[in-house]
């Protein structure tokens, strides 16, 4: 891997409510890699992801993160607006063009639902709309927190395709999940019982 890793963490330590979630945690994710983060509930998966995304500052240790895109448990959608309007907002605040919105919405299988309010879409469809932002705002590193839940089989197939395409295009994925991703995960890190 000639290119520098997109994400490298050295001796991370996190203590929350007097409990040490993880310590001396070091790893790095290079371009083209899809690393899955496994571990029981409450083992600090979400906390680690949020810390890497920059939302949670109380993690000690050195971290260097390339431009990343974080998708958490919540979809990051205003349910009053339509998927198109949500993506227009995302395009506005990040400065990327609005031209790609239709193509992205079709890619995640929301053809025909672009202009109905998100609150009328199903859970799976809202999850897909949330993931559409990943394609619109093209950033090399994806930090995903449980992308598979609330998705039917085609949805999970869609996730696999998106991850493969992203890794193939020299992107990287760091994904916390309950069910292992199976063959597309190049490596997996397990957070201990703490």
């Amino acid at each position: 891997m000639s290119t520098p890793p997109l994400l490298s963490a050295n001796k991370l330590r996190c203590e929350r409510d007097m409990r040490v979630l993880f310590k001396d945690l070091s790893f790095s994710v290079g371009a083209g890699e899809c690393v899955e983060l496994l571990g029981p509930n409450g083992s600090g998966k979400s906390t680690l992801l949020r810390a890497l995304a920059g939302l949670y500052p109380d993690v000690e240790g050195e971290v260097s993160v390339a431009a990343s895109m974080y998708v958490g448990h919540r979809n990051g959608l205003n349910v009053l607006l339509t998927p198109r309007e949500n993506l227009q907002w995302y395009a506005g605040i990040t400065g990327v063009g609005v031209t790609g919105i239709d193509a992205v919405l079709q890619r995640v299988g929301l053809y025909g639902f672009e202009d109905s309010a998100c609150q009328r879409l199903s859970q799976g469809q809202q999850r897909r709309a949330g993931l559409a932002v990943l394609l619109l705002v093209d950033r090399p590193l994806w930090l995903l927190d449980e992308p598979l839940n609330a998705l039917d089989t085609q949805g999970q197939a869609l996730i696999n395709d998106l991850l493969n395409e992203h890794c193939a295009a020299n992107g990287a994925v760091f994904c916390a999940t309950h069910q292992p991703l199976g063959e597309i995960a190049t490596r997996s890190i397990v957070l201990g019982g703490g």
Binding site: G54, Y56, G72, N75, N78, Q88, W89, G92, I93
Partner: protein, 228 residues
Amino acid sequence: MRSAIAGQVISQVVREWRTIARAPIDVANPLMFFFLGISLFAIGTGGEREGLAEIGPAVIWVLVLLANLLSLDTLFKRDHADGTLEQLLLLAQPVFVPVLGKVIVHWCFTGVMMTLLTPLSALVMNLTLDQTWILMLTLILGTPSLSLIGAIGAALTVGLRSGGVLLALVVLPLYLPVLIFGVSAAYLAGDGLAVTAQLYWLGAIAVLALTLAPFAVTQALAISVEQT
């Protein structure tokens, strides 16, 4: 760079405008509260016209303060719940620009709305034309700082259970200077005295709030987001 910032503000304002258009009740409630409060005071003083004119400006200003306080929830609560607030903090560069866009839209639907309706409330409160005019002037100058300072309180308390009362306790003491200059201007105008000093002060506070508040709001949002 300039177009990027303009693009951010426009897209944020358009988004807020659409959200409010889809759920106007969030904005209508504070205005209803404002007029309900005015009629309560009018009924409370037995509708006797001199008494009302005496307390009119103070009542209107205090109710504007409280209505603004009630409407602060609509600023961040929805975005905090559905995760867009996190995305805003992560993706927008610089962050305070869309935040400022949100506060401007909030001001339009609370401060400006109540200022435009002042003739109506002044009529109910039996104020002179001069007082009404000065009252509107002080409101249009004072309400921006209310929204800006209020946004700091809203951002600090957005994720908390006891948000409402805490927000009032945190924000109302900081509203005091605006209230004082607003009310005193209306009373002095009633006696036909000059009010330029008050207007200068209101303008100065508004400019101070405009320059400092967005950064405090962004910092407060980062603190609230880290707790979920």
